[in-house]
Symmetry: C2
Subunit: 579 residues, 2 copies
Amino acid sequence: MYRSHSCGELRASHINTEVTLAGWVQKSRDKGFMVWVDLRDRYGITQLIFDEARTPTAMMDKAKSLGREFVIQVTGTVIERESKNAKMATGNVEVLVSKLEILNQALTPPFTIEDMTDGGEDIRMKYRYLDIRRNPVKDSLIFRHKVSMEVRKYLSDQEFIEVETPYLIKSTPEGARDFVVPSRMNEGQFYALPQSPQTFKQLLMVGGMDKYFQIVKCFRDEDLRADRQPEFTQIDCEMAFVEQEDILNIFEGLTRHLLKEINGVEVAEFPRMLYDDAMKMYGNDKPDIRFGMEFGELNTVAQHKEFGVFNNAELVVGIAVPGGNAYTRKEIDKLIDWVRRPQVGALGMVYCRVNDDVTFKSSVDKFYDQEDLAKWAAATNAKPGDLICVLSGETNKVRAQLSALRMELAERLGLRDPKVFAPLWVIDFPLLELDEETGHYHAMHHPFTSPKPGQLELLDTDPGAVKANAYDLVLNGNEIGGGSIRIHDKQIQATMLRHLGFSEEEARAQFGFLMDAFEYGAPPHGGLAFGLDRLVAILGGQETIRDFIAFPKNNSGRDVMIDAPAFLDNDQLKELGLI
Amino acid sequence: MYRSHSCGELRASHINTEVTLAGWVQKSRDKGFMVWVDLRDRYGITQLIFDEARTPTAMMDKAKSLGREFVIQVTGTVIERESKNAKMATGNVEVLVSKLEILNQALTPPFTIEDMTDGGEDIRMKYRYLDIRRNPVKDSLIFRHKVSMEVRKYLSDQEFIEVETPYLIKSTPEGARDFVVPSRMNEGQFYALPQSPQTFKQLLMVGGMDKYFQIVKCFRDEDLRADRQPEFTQIDCEMAFVEQEDILNIFEGLTRHLLKEINGVEVAEFPRMLYDDAMKMYGNDKPDIRFGMEFGELNTVAQHKEFGVFNNAELVVGIAVPGGNAYTRKEIDKLIDWVRRPQVGALGMVYCRVNDDVTFKSSVDKFYDQEDLAKWAAATNAKPGDLICVLSGETNKVRAQLSALRMELAERLGLRDPKVFAPLWVIDFPLLELDEETGHYHAMHHPFTSPKPGQLELLDTDPGAVKANAYDLVLNGNEIGGGSIRIHDKQIQATMLRHLGFSEEEARAQFGFLMDAFEYGAPPHGGLAFGLDRLVAILGGQETIRDFIAFPKNNSGRDVMIDAPAFLDNDQLKELGLI
């Protein structure tokens, strides 16, 4: 036993108790005749005191020699502090040390182990084990554990069974790239790491498991964007004998449970929005509805004058920025520069000030009169004091651009409060998505998603119009989960794969086992998967996932701490049949 | 909603309720004027009834058309059964069907979906999704879920934090072979899949996480023996500021909790046995102590006569087989044949009958008199009616041989009752193990295991004698967990790696990050890992793990259901830089 108590545990009630503590030296203050040391462990900080009057000289010297992050063990008596610290849980007491042992020395850490550290991202990643000592990272990992435990508890109470599916599976070129694993015992052959346990969870439904879940690592070999990881964690779920409604209810229940247990927030029934409406009103299939600024489409009220830019546009659409009339001309010009950045890609922006007296002043007054602009204000729900920002162009592009602007402005206006939670179901996603490069349609969700009843016929005539039994759960502008009702009929699955461009042989080679399974009594089924990393970050009030992952990789997919990936020696490559 | 109730739910209290059920046709009995169908889902079986008098003809015909494993949905009224079935939870009622829908047809399954199936191992693996419908497999998976939940609950209550460590790490040639993963973004470089999260959990201790656990997949590319899987699951645990005693207590607590919650068995304090004693008394470092038959060493009482076989042996050792005097000469000859099988490898076996009148009859009466044999009986603790079996030879070999015989006889005698649980700590393992082929010592546990205090010096003079702070938890003759107190001092770790034959460069390349971490304030720490697959199987009263894994691989490491591993196409190989 290295300790009788943790460093977060001692209170006034412990005064006069003899205790043994162990931990790290957070800091020490040496006043010559007195030395205070803050001793830290996972549970908190306790102040130690050494003083000339009560501490033997040798120990006093040893106390003075303690550097930051030394690992020590002390025994001593809990005494009342003279100057109490109400901000610390242990702030009423300190430990007068009678025995001090240095368990391990420490070099000076390359950055400060404080909530606000002086270390940059790169150095903190290299010394991640030191970064984890900092409260923001440590608390994020503990927070993640709590969320995972609550997820398991809730689903288990709902009779879901956690089943471990295999990690060494078969490569399926559909979707993102697979990471593959050469098989030594089957030369020239490869396993693949799962992008998700999709087919296995469907097979579990065929197997009668009825309700399945798994918190599971998934792998995608993508060119990494910021805040993406090659390995990530899903809460993967599937249910048999269900319709979309059943699934929405169950996972709304789970999400509500988490918000309540983890965040202490009670949320009303989640609103539901059609995919088409989300695109129309927010330009985005994962709208942040913590705030308004819904899109107002202006084609009918802006394409009747001589302004060619609008007249030639497929879509003219605006948003009202609350209080935006206060922006100076210079600020508005900066906003225009912002939307013209290549990352956003608008050609320009028309704006219209809404004055307090409900008169209007626009950048296109040459073309539009007060009556016209009043209609813009009505369409965008602009109030006196607002600024209407209007973009125009090709529908999909302009929606994406205005969506980016909406989020940027909301951020600047402080409307994205991380303590407010606005969940939303987006439903009726399209079944297929057109790849503009190849001109081919591919599955928007995945090839196992079922079309809405009666829409299968549309596949031949108007594939882009077919809607799917697919849904996303959106929280604060982030997709935190998505799923679908699956196809459970072999013929429909075959039709779908044919439409996705699979030859019969390809379909057979890749999904033969699933098609076979469908012949032996497959029940109707569907499911959903949450992105745990993202979910945890949002519940934790953060936008980035990295602090919620113990050992993340950088944007090149490297673990800079252990320096992986790395070269193998030739013996190993030979044995694997790779050279 | 496809159902109002599950197939395991209806009781007499539901009589006259209208219900909707969905599931699989387990079997149907067609008496012409009446058809009974057993409808099955995960939760149970409910009997459906269709009869001429009450069922419309069209539905009657449809009911008669139902084949095994068809997926159907029925609505009907719960009625009292005429002939009740006390063996079924739903045996008091049946459902008089008013609406029948076939949700999916089914081909006749390739084996019967019954507890005792007619399907062989191979076909059941190929159609694992059908095998999972069978109670023994389904119940095993549910059992595994329950064990995992209890493990998490217990450890979380003890303030352990589950932290997910990465799967894409770096290859370390020490130990078993790694599975590797080529990195597309870092050409020519490879990740490795973890054989265990060993170094990461140690870094979490350096990071102050204090108590860590994870239920985690691990990977070993070994030539598979029966009942080994290339991917397997560990309950991986680590604690800081602990001594061996603390760890034994915590995980004894966990194991006791599982035995109580899962099996309803209360177990007393776990006995502890020195590794050396286990080898001496059972010839084995994971003795099954559900039964006796401890070894009796006979050198002093068998090497004083003219029997050269014994006199030339390093060890003469025997066990007393309870009631073995009843064996016929033929049976004993078969036993001798058994120990001479190449898998066991003994050259022969000497035996000695203990008669009821406490006289002895041995196969070496030429050399030993009654007085000698009485001493053998005393040493092996043989009782009247027993048979003493004696092997001799080189110590390590003869112990392994006699251990095999002991287990075989216990099996035959029914002494290995799966409902009896006999846990045992085996402690003080040797630090190093001699590789007889190379003449080199390697780490018996792993290179991070600390030697017993004060034994570091022995490394130079008598490395084989150094004992480690290493321990195994043994349950019913299986190692279900093992761990050690780790080295937390950089110098000692460096010394250890040098003794294990690592050059300074190799040590640096492979474990540099860990050695660095030890310089920044590493606390004393240690841990343990349970093999979850094995643990669950034993708690479930089984000797083999396969039914407790949803989608196991065969002995060639293949998943025969999905047919993996498989060949990749050239595009994929090119992109990965493999051709």
